[in-house]
């Protein structure tokens, strides 16, 4: 799975949680999940559960804390699936 595929899957998973739907149109690796997409911070645990299911990986809590941008999520998933 290449980075573009992971990116697209990540964006798809984030979509229902995004409160600022306009920000989705220009979404890139640099897009901040909380600040730009306005995802409710409490919902990050649900997003992470969906990442785990979609990519068949396990993400521990310390890793979750490092995810701020869409790019951070893509990199983390990329590393996990090796």
């Amino acid at each position: 799975m290449d980075q573009t595929e992971i990116f697209e899957k990540v964006v798809k998973i984030l979509t229902p949680y995004v409160k600022n739907q306009q920000a989705l149109e220009g979404v890139s690796l640099a897009t901040h999940i909380l600040d730009d997409l306005k995802v409710n911070s409490a919902r990050l645990v649900d997003v992470v559960l969906e990442f785990e299911d979609a990519f068949d990986i396990e993400i521990d809590d310390d890793d979750v804390d490092k995810v701020e941008t869409v790019g951070n999520a893509v990199e983390l998933i990329e590393a996990k699936i090796g």
Partner: protein, 425 residues
């Protein structure tokens, strides 16, 4: 004299009709919303029938964003739709989620009898037992906390006054309205969205089936199963939905030129103390009569001014006692009892939502000048026979109807009574 409180908005989701127009039509026609329930059959219930508002999920998807829907169980969906409907019916716009303004003068008392049992049963218990607590994610708590239904609505409408959830079993919805009236009378709020909510879930109904208080004898005839005041009444039919009223101070309503549906002239809440025949599951008749009398006194309305009664009347053995309590409270002979009707005959018993939905029925009856029929009691219970002439089997046209009294009685021997008065410009 304390401030007057009027109803300026209505929202309702009931098994026999969603929205004010369909619900009123169903009430006038005496339409039953009771249907066979596959889950109850599958899970070996004695009763196979229930009242479930139709199309709630589709409706919720048209009202709320994906982000909200992720954490809205059945009760949340019913309560939020009815709450938003009451708000817009009162002439207010739904605020933009990005608009930071809060309406500090508007609040909500939105009650639920049982709460998020579907979330507990479908997610919390199985995940926890399977050592998968983490899989619950962030959405469990807000659907399980009792105040979730009112909290959800406050977020959607930016309500800034008191926002809470009351719970008093089957008197919940009526109690919520009484609480909102008091708050507005005291000048602590201008507008309160009040009423009751109950989700549709066989998990909510299971315990009642085990108590053998649900109707089992009409599984082959769902629409005939809810039979308040009937000789063949065989227990209540569980149901779900929401009924929400926008209560408003008369000053606020007049100042903004709002359309007034009716007035809440008075109310009362009490408990029979589990004495004198009262218990966890049965009402003390003295408590019931006192509650009705206190509500009339609060409204400064004489018993002979009561034009119709919307009873609690669930189709259990308590119906004859309730009818006698009404007559005693109003101090009238059986032949002088005003028309008495049970909304539950058409929608079943919506538990915490019952008082909310049935209060909507009262307001619609006052506005439309009718008393809806109490269906399925052509064979009136022998103990109610002396009052039989007061039970409408088809809609009564009553253009002069001025006062409707609604009462709700709940497990725990708790009572709530509301007095609605027609609004005459």
């Amino acid at each position: 004299m304390s401030r007057r409180v009027v109803v300026t908005g209505i929202g309702v989701l009931a098994p026999n009709g969603n929205g004010v127009r369909d619900f009123e039509l169903a009430l006038r026609k005496g339409l039953s919303g009771i249907r066979l329930n596959e889950k109850m059959i599958e899970c070996g219930f004695g009763s196979h029938v229930a009242g479930v508002p139709q199309g709630i999920d589709e409706l919720a998807e048209s009202y709320f964003s994906d982000d909200l829907l992720l954490a809205m169980n059945s009760g949340h969906r019913c309560g939020a739709i009815a709450g938003v409907d009451a708000w817009t019916d009162a002439g207010f716009e739904r605020p933009d989620p990005d608009d930071d303004r809060v309406d500090w003068d508007a609040g909500a008392v939105l009650g639920t009898g049982i709460g998020g049992m579907d979330t507990i049963a479908n997610a919390v218990v199985p995940m926890t037992n399977a050592n998968k607590v983490r899989r619950l994610g962030s959405v469990a708590v807000e659907q399980v906390m009792s105040s979730g239904v009112s909290a959800r609505l406050s977020g959607i409408l930016a309500l800034g006054n008191q926002v809470t959830t009351n719970s008093s079993a089957c008197s919940t919805g009526s109690e919520a309205i009484s609480m909102g009236v008091e708050r507005i009378r005291r000048g602590l709020a201008e507008r309160m969205l009040c009423g009751g909510v109950e989700g549709a879930s066989h998990y909510i109904w299971a315990g009642f089936d085990a108590m053998r208080v649900l109707c089992r004898r009409f599984n082959d005839a769902p629409e005939s199963a809810s039979r308040p005041m009937s000789a063949t009444a065989a227990g209540f039919v569980p149901s779900a939905g929401a009924g929400v009223l926008m209560l408003e101070s008369l000053e606020s309503a007049q100042e903004r030129g709002a359309r007034i549906h009716a007035e809440v002239a008075g109310s009362a809440i009490n408990c029979g103390g589990h004495r004198g025949g009262g218990s966890m599951t049965a009402p003390n008749p003295e408590g019931v009569s006192r509650c009705i009398q206190a509500a009339l006194a609060d409204a400064q309305i004489a018993p002979e001014e009561v034009g119709a009664i919307n009873g609690h009347l669930t189709a259990t053995g308590a119906d004859p006692k309730e009818v006698r309590s009404w007559a005693r409270a109003l101090g009238c002979s059986p032949s002088d009892l005003p028309p008495i009707t049970s909304t539950k005959s058409m929608i079943g018993h919506a538990l915490g939502a019952a008082g909310g939905i049935e209060s909507v029925a009262c307001v619609l009856m006052l506005k439309g000048g009718f008393v809806h029929p109490s269906i399925n009691c052509e064979d009136v219970h022998p103990e109610i026979e002396p009052y039989a002439a007061s039970i409408p089997h088809t809609a009564l046209e009553t253009p002069d109807l001025q006062v409707v009294v609604k009462a709700g009685f709940g497990f725990g021997d708790v009572n709530a009574c509301l007095v609605f008065r027609k609004w005459n410009e």
